[in-house]
Amino acid sequence: MDARIGVRNTKSILFKSLIIFLAFVVTLPLIIVLLYIIKQGVMQVNWHFLTHVPAPEGEKGGGIANALVGSILIVGMSSIVAIPVGILAGIYLSENPGSKLAYYSGLCVDILQGVPSIVMGIVVYFWIVKPFGFSAISGSIALAIMMLPIVIRSTEQTLLLLPPSLKEAALSLGVPYHRVILKVIVPCGFAGILSGIILSIARIIGETAPLLFTALGSNYLTTNVTGAMESLPHLIFTYATSPYDDQHDLAWGASFILLMFVLILNIVTKLITRKWKIQL
């Protein structure tokens, strides 16, 4: 009898060790990738790197100013489209939980969340690129569609958690519906909505596939949003697969910058959610 308990206890301890081992081993690849990118990238980054466009193939030097400006513009334009639409759709979903349209709308948010990014790239190609040509705008629209589900879901989840008494109190004072939503409900859920927005930006800033056939990429520093434009992830993709070492160096530097953007955005989200104790 005693021996059996011993065996069972040993089994339990062995299992626990195995679980702990497996759970922590997963962090290794991430740490290795992060350290490698930092090691390769940090040497590339200097003022020249940030303010110059890539040197012609086979030449040393140059920077990634075109991709940096492009990424910021493209992501900025996506945000302008996706944030208002996402917040309003999120409000709609949280305000009308029983309606038929809200059901299908919620279903479609789930579908959008699962659509592979490359498919989104093809679709936007036919919607915008085919009639109007390659442009930063088309890339922004593809990314905006990818942002939407995250903004909508975080808005919806945040608002659903607010106590109904808030809304009831405002309504009983005779405040019209739209002012209740915009002046009471949304400000109360502001932190949750904000963290959803930041998270969605962090998610799309590294998206490459939707930009392949939309914003395309360009070697010039341009702010013309109706023309092709470079972006950080696209530059990394093109230069990573090129045969020139100098271009690899540019890609390492760009990876480092992109990684820093993503890390900072994620940390900011974490700080916001921790400060306001939100569950996303």
């Binding site: 069972r8 195995l18 702990i20 709609y92 789930d110 939407l148 590294g206 690899h248």
Partner: protein, 305 residues
């Protein structure tokens, strides 16, 4: 006089109220229209290929745009092979994380640290994984391939699966963690009271209780793996011809549905070629949508009970 003014004000407010309600509804409808638009676009644009190649397209073994022969089999095989290999590699890890964060160590700084780190795995852009693996993992795999006597390409199905496995762990792990935390403690306490060890509680109470939810998590991971594009495109070697034994296919270069679209869409110069590629996108869309919806359905049913 005063009263009338107030009345006017409240009328205009009521008008705004209606406008606002309409606006919300329009936004809700836009999402539905977006999805319908995506579906219609994919079907319309792939129609030439659906009409010309029929259903046989899906298991046609040869993809040769130069002689206008299109078969999706190499890409279906590549996608299934990479996704399921990645899934099989990732399952023990995502289960371990779920059990550790859900049961052994649900609170405290170590648990938070691990949770945030796992979330970070999903945050790193896939192109960065691809780029890193191309320069670090590929040489390692090449050495391994020399040792086991297959052609040492370095890039290929196996390499792509390895990277994919790491990338999809967070999706199943996050869901699993929260589901395991939701197991009612009376159930666990009952088992402990009967003298069960921790391992026995996990095996006979927690895992059976969360089985369908953990399965849903795996489906979500699978959905990610099927559609993942950039890391795979960089690593899989881009060959549309498949031949040889399973071992040769598994370690050799291949192509997935997503990677062939990424590689050939821009150079598709005639209608049938282009629409054959879009049909791949359509298949990918359907498969990922179905997998995701089943996953979500299981989760909703699970959390409602």
């Amino acid at each position: 006089m005063m009263k009338n003014k107030r009345l006017d004000l409240s009328y205009s407010q009521m008008k705004w109220e209606t406008v606002f309600r309409r606006l919300l509804m329009v936004m809700g409808a836009i999402i539905v229209l977006l999805v319908i638009g995506v579906l219609i676009t994919l079907i319309v644009e792939s129609w030439p290929s659906i009409k010309a190649l029929g259903i046989g397209y899906l298991w046609g073994k040869v993809w040769d745009p130069v002689s206008n022969v299109y078969g999706a089999y190499p890409f279906l095989l590549g996608t299934l092979l990479t996704s399921f290999t990645a899934l099989i590699i990732s399952i023990p890890f995502s289960y371990a994380i779920s059990i550790y964060l859900g049961e052994y160590n649900p609170k405290g700084w170590l648990s938070d640290l691990l949770k945030n780190t796992i979330e970070l795995i999903a945050a790193v852009p896939s192109i960065i994984y691809g780029f890193w693996a191309l320069f670090v993992l590929v040489p390692v795999v090449r050495q391994l391939e020399t040792k086991i006597h297959v052609a040492p390409y370095g890039v290929g199905v196996f390499t792509a699966s390895l990277v994919l496995a790491v990338m999809i762990i967070p999706y199943a792990a996050a869901l699993g963690t929260s589901l395991i935390r939701m197991v009612p403690s009376p159930l666990k306490e009952g088992a402990y009271a009967l003298g069960a060890t921790r391992f026995e509680v996990i095996r006979s109470v927690i895992l059976p209780y969360t089985r369908s939810g953990l399965f849903a998590g795996i489906l979500l991971s699978l959905g990610r793996a099927l559609g993942e594009t950039m890391a795979v495109t960089v690593l899989i070697g881009n060959t549309s011809a498949i031949s040889g034994s399973f071992k040769e296919i598994f370690f050799g270069p291949g192509n997935t549905m997503a990677s062939v679209i990424a590689n050939e869409f821009a150079e598709a110069d005639h209608t049938l070629y282009l629409s054959a590629l879009i049909e791949l996108g359509l298949v990918l869309f359907f498969v990922t949508v179905v997998i995701n919806l089943i996953g979500k359905r299981i989760i909703t049913r699970y959390t409602n009970n």
